[in-house]
Structure formats: structure tokens, C-alpha cells
Symmetry: C2
Subunit: 145 residues, 2 copies
């Protein structure tokens, strides 16, 4: 059981921006800080912009910054919006072919478990991820000047 790197990277971008503050950050800087693919990050950033989490500025001296306060960015909601496919087993998807689905108790159990997973994340915001006490270390680890 995994969440996709896409969701992981989305969270990392938001963490970077929250630590960085009001300055604009470029995709290149974030990719370098985490040592991950710039091209993949591009899609992540594009989606975060579309969903209103960040604002992007094109052109020279462009970049991006958070459009919402860290305390208003809920981790559970973000995961739900970012994780493409939350059908944890076949019977949750539209192309289900399992014959016993109508009378199988498993589906509701797994649904309840998934809800418990997401509701746990609903308790937290981006501000909780980056506690103030850790900000200096995060600035250093992410090599933000």
C-alpha cells in the first residue's frame, strides 16, 4: 500500500514554500533542494496552482509562493485531491468484476478503514507539519538562503 510520489511531491513543494515564506521560489530550486526530477515537479506545481494552493508568476524573476496560509492547508483534503485513484480494491472501481460484491462485507470494512486513514490526516494542517521549532533546521536542510 502506497501513496504516489505525485502526492508526496505535492506535499514537499508546499513544505518548501511554507518554510521559505513570502519570497518566490522556482521549480528548479525546489527540485535541487530535494534532488528530484524538475520535469515531474512541473506537473505537480501546475496542479497545485490550478487547485489554488499556490500562485505562480511566469517570466524572468518568476516563481511561486503559497496562496493559502499553512494553517489553512489541510493534509487530508490535499491527499484526497492529489491521489488520483483512491479505489483501494477492485470492487471500489467502476470496472469491478468480482461476483460477490453485492453481499461481501469486505467492501464496507475497507471503506471504513480508508475513511479512518483520511480522517486522521484531516486533523492536521501544513502548519503542523512544519512546527516553528524545526524551521531553522528545515531552512538549512532545504538550503534556503
Amino acid at each position: 500500500m502506497h501513496i504516489t510520489r505525485y502526492t508526496d511531491y505535492s506535499l514537499r513543494v508546499l513544505i518548501y514554500l511554507a518554510v521559505q515564506g513570502d519570497e518566490l521560489a522556482t521549480i528548479q530550486e525546489i527540485a535541487d533542494s530535494y534532488d528530484i526530477s524538475k520535469n515531474h515537479l512541473m506537473k505537480v506545481v501546475h496542479q497545485l496552482n490550478k487547485k489554488g494552493y499556490i500562485e505562480t508568476v511566469r517570466g524572468k524573476k518568476g516563481g511561486m509562493r503559497l496562496q493559502m496560509a499553512p494553517a489553512d492547508i489541510n493534509v487530508g483534503i490535499l491527499v484526497r485531491e492529489t491521489e488520483q485513484d483512491l479505489n483501494i480494491v477492485e470492487c471500489f472501481s467502476s470496472k469491478n468484476a468480482c461476483r460477490i460484491t453485492p453481499v461481501c462485507g469486505l467492501k464496507s470494512m475497507l471503506g471504513e478503514a480508508l475513511t479512518a486513514f483520511l480522517q486522521t490526516l484531516d486533523k492536521y494542517t501544513l502548519a503542523d507539519v512544519i512546527q516553528d521549532q524545526h524551521r531553522p533546521q528545515l531552512l538549512r536542510l532545504l538550503q534556503i538562503a
Copy 2:
């Protein structure tokens, strides 16, 4: 986010055997009932046997049956044992390369969420999956004589 078909099939085999009762069932019968790959099921059955969930009988007139009572087969434990990789994000695995892991609050949140997921499943057993009231329909849907 998914669980693997391997885990799904493990659960389906146990459901079949619980519905079937004391008779021996062959891999072929189970594969036919669910219309899934016999070859894939072989591995699933082998592992369920190794873990003590079922007993298998080789040779002519062979097959398999449950080795534990349905009420003693816990769904959460089974999922933990069957799902190969429960490292939901990179920082949970041994080959983690994310720089901020030491001060990142996300790891404990996702850990807590995963625990909530599994603990939900811990509340249920195979007997809960197959409620008595549904047994006749399950027998029919699985085409068990």
C-alpha cells in the same frame, strides 16, 4: 492508494473456503468461481498454507480447506501479513533519500493514519465478512454445489 490484488485474492480464497465449509476445494474451482488467474492463485494458496490459514491436500481428490475458524481470522492481521510493502511513502522505506525526514512532521502523521487504517480492519474477522444471512447468496454467486 491501493492494496495489491495479491491481498485481495487472499481474502477471496478465505471467503470461498469459509462459505464452502469442510469440503476440500481445488484452486481450479476457486479460480473458476471468481474468473481469475489460476496461476496467480497458486502462489496465494501456497502462502496462505505456509501462514497456517489453510491446510492443503496434495494428489488426486486433493484440495484445501480452512485451518482456522472464520471468527479467528482477523482481517487486519491478514492484510498486514499479506500486503508486501506497507511503506506508504518513501521516508518509510530503507532507501529513503528525502533530506527533511528528521524534522518532517508528515512521517508521523502518515504513520498514525496507516495505523488507523489497520486498526479499523482489526475490528473484523472473516466471520463478519460472511454474515450468515448472506451465506445462501454467496453459495449461489460462487456456484458452490
